[in-house]
Symmetry: C2
Subunit: 187 residues, 2 copies
């Protein structure tokens, strides 16, 4: 898929939670392949270009190409690992640390697909969407971003995120890219 997308859930009360953010190159909705009932929605955050894979094709892959099937499976396992990391930050860290962590994660994932430019990258999320991702109010998202800017860790303006102090940001967010299961050169 080209472009950014998100998976989300909406509670009966109307509150929305974004449960995953997809960057260009991600296989977005493999989860719906085997699940009987789709438990969440998918939305585009930018204009997207996507490739569709019929379930019949996936089924055939599991029958005939076990190696490829394992790779697809791995993709969903990494999604789950990210869910666990988010759960941990959601439950056990402050709003500021959580935001720092999310920025670190996005940076790593985007760098892997070559979408970073030095310490900067484009990120199309509005503050409202960020709030729905982190479980915060829009107002508080704004204050957190202001704090990160004032602490000279990172700035997020006009859809461009620029990391000013990677080590500091990583420490604040208690971030370690291990859970992303990326294979690449050490930084």
């Amino acid at each position: 898929m080209e472009g950014f997308a998100a998976r989300y859930k909406i509670l009966p009360s109307g509150r929305r939670q974004i449960t995953a953010i997809h960057v260009p190159g991600d296989f977005v909705d493999l989860h719906s392949f085997l699940l009987k009932t789709m438990d969440h929605g998918v939305m585009a955050l930018t204009a997207c270009e996507l490739a569709l894979v019929p379930h019949a094709t996936l089924l055939r892959i599991t029958e005939e190409k076990p190696h490829l099937a394992r790779l697809l499976w791995l993709g969903t396992l990494i999604d789950a690992a990210i869910h666990r990391e988010w759960l941990t930050m959601m439950g056990r860290s402050s709003a500021t640390a959580h935001m720092a962590h999310l920025i670190c994660e996005l940076f790593c994932r985007l760098q892997l697909v070559g979408l970073t430019d030095g310490w900067s990258f484009r990120c199309p999320l509005t503050q409202e969407e960020l709030g729905d991702t982190l479980g915060l109010s829009t107002v508080h998202v704004n204050r957190v971003l202001k704090e990160l800017r004032e602490r000279k860790l990172v700035s997020w303006q006009n859809g461009i995120v620029t990391i000013a102090n990677w080590q500091g940001l990583q420490d604040l967010g208690e971030f370690s890219e291990l859970y992303l299961n990326l294979i690449r050169e050490p930084r």
Copy 2:
């Protein structure tokens, strides 16, 4: 697996978050099969009896028994669906609603494996572990349980959970069992 277990993460700061609770019958750690680095720990909540499956066997299953492999995959997808649901409750609901939701989920999962007794079931979590599951302090867990008891929705005493008002509990927790992907008779 017989007995209760949990998967958890510990942050550098020392704070713990439980990311999954496993009930008897669950395939506990299929996630470690394909993931290069194990991103979390597993702990027993009670004495457990378990069956081990070597990775080589799993590998062979994916090569030779695609139908079975899809079932295993489905298991991990359901784990991910539960993670998304927890994420949503964590980010977008009150402590009381979150607790109600967790109790509803445990009830449904335990009923499926025949471990409920009417509206009661055994649940070995301490309040500290409950707090680490819900992202709350031990003290607040206690207050939330007290509130649920006083509202005559559910009681949790000496490791026995008894649901007094299923509909009320479900409404409060905005619970719908859909995400669990259970196949069974409607209640």
